[in-house]
Symmetry: C2
Subunit: 328 residues, 2 copies
């Protein structure tokens, strides 16, 4: 930590969508270079030990595009059944965990997304979209999560590059609050909250990392963690699954640049990324604006965050963006 700012006050910043507060700490301030030092050497697993390198895996593919396949998860969070049982137990409420859980695998054991070609990343997006479109047809599905865990500290139990897709029969209220936040903002201000923030951020320039034709890469004003990076489509669009073919190439380019800068600038940190998009089979989310969230594993969520739900950042998004902008 840098001691010089010890007596400076922290900043509490409000997330305009969820109304959540985050802290940008001055007393705990770290320089950007201090983050990459914390990373330990990446674990390696040889192909012979890797369940995703078994040649039989191709037989289990539900969908294939280029070198990317989707298979059912062997340890599913939710699995399919043709009815959805709900029941009470005393004062409590229980529902069957009915849904889908797939693993989206890059066949090459060593092809980390940050080191992949844009065309290869576009294949991954194609598989995300195809599986999303197929599973949203099930009327009991309320939300589809697409996410990627990279490294053990980010919860990846298998090193081989893979994303996951979970189709859930419920929407958690914390997620619903942040989705409804966009509707509430629109009611009050007559504009999309994300479009409003993107306009301001582009005018101010301080948190922008990269832009291409259709996407913008930035550090959000009120980050959930140090070095949080987000990728937004420039055109308002609630639903990820409506992404066009041209937009997919542009999205692949934005992912490649964002993950490449994080890989080089922070020395291949563990990270999670996920897509936040409008719920399905539920009306009234036309003012949502889908996006991708990248959370490098730079700190531990501890007692204060758990008890108060307030995240503490040790680097401002303006400094993080300035650092990542310069990484070639």
């Amino acid at each position: 930590m840098i001691k010089k700012d010890k007596d400076e006050l922290s900043e509490l910043r409000l997330d305009l969508v969820s109304d959540d507060w985050v802290v940008i700490s001055k007393a705990r301030r770290m320089r950007p270079e201090m983050f990459s030092k914390k990373i330990s050497k990446r674990a390696v697993a040889t192909r012979s030990q890797c369940p995703f390198c078994d040649p039989k895996i191709l037989d289990r593919a539900i969908f294939k595009k280029g070198d990317i396949i989707s298979i059912p998860n062997d340890f599913p969070i939710f699995s399919y059944k043709d009815d959805l049982n709900e029941r009470s137990l005393g004062p409590y409420h229980i529902m069957d965990g009915v849904g889908f859980h797939e693993v989206i695998i890059t066949l090459d054991h060593n092809k980390h997304i940050a080191l992949s070609k844009k065309e290869e990343i576009k294949d991954i997006i194609d598989v995300y979209q195809a599986r999303y479109l197929a599973l949203k047809e099930y009327k009991f599905i309320k939300y589809i999560s697409i996410f990627h865990n990279h490294g053990r500290a980010a919860g990846a139990s298998i090193i081989h590059p893979h994303s996951q897709l979970v189709a859930s029969p419920v929407i958690d209220p914390d997620l619903k609050d942040s989705i409804d936040g966009a509707e509430n903002y629109h009611k009050k201000h007559g504009a999309c909250v994300y479009c409003t923030m993107l306009d301001w951020d582009r005018k101010e320039g301080k948190r922008i990392i990269y832009e291409n034709e259709s996407f913008i890469v930035l550090c959000p004003f009120a980050p959930q963690s140090d070095f949080e990076v987000r990728i937004y489509p420039k055109l308002h669009n609630p639903d990820f699954e409506n992404i066009t073919d041209e937009e997919k190439m542009s999205f692949a380019d934005a992912i490649s640049v964002a993950l490449g800068k994080i890989y080089k600038g922070l020395n291949d940190p563990d990270y999670n990324f996920y897509i936040h998009t409008a719920p399905i089979n539920v009306l009234g989310h036309k003012n949502y604006h889908w996006h991708l969230v990248i959370l490098p594993k730079t700190s531990i969520f501890a007692g204060f965050e758990m008890s108060s739900s307030i995240e503490v950042n040790t680097i401002s998004p303006e400094e993080a963006a300035e650092f990542l902008r310069k990484i070639k």
Copy 2:
């Protein structure tokens, strides 16, 4: 993982207070003994390297009871200033991080709470209460978090046993939702949601770990993580700070039993604990019911939890409680 339950459906359980969903996974099910194997050896720091073993630390004590002192945190999340500035920046909203941040230290470098005498734990509770009562007098404070991080994986950067107290000028909406949940339940059912759950849990018996005169130790029906343990006062009481002297001995006994069973049963895991109590200087929380939450660090919050806000458990609270009940 135990493969036999692979095809069994997961259970989605609703938290009656926050309305949050959690999953009890069958496909990912683990046996209780499998948790302690995951724990690596505890890091040690000698007294000579320890900032809390510096004899000068006593000069910084704001409050002292027995061998427990409270000092200002050197790297405060919030610090005191006599006004609270709020301002706008384009569409954004910022507030000064005005508040208090103290460290509550056990003078003995090796006195882990799980290994402390009940009288020593009562001294810690006395300091929690004294500092809480002193800081709630500041009218701009909305919430006081009291928490304890044990071990590096739980975010403790210093090994020497210590708790922390953070007095915040804001309440995050995720915390507010769970506090308001108690009021909403009371409006609908005319009863305290926590008293209702405690009555049912005691009748059913399956999630209860321990009871004494004034407190009950249990695994909650909808846990946030594997082996979550909670300690509730039996008598309805919204405010931790109103705990009586007799109740404090009983609370110390409950903490000693709960942390002792976790220490022995799970092989000294890292953990966080925190107190959830009613907000201050805000009316309308008489139906809240304060309690202590213990979260052993048994798993990593990864992409699914981050993107959906739904926690996935790999052991049911009934199995966790049965296991902990038997630990002497």
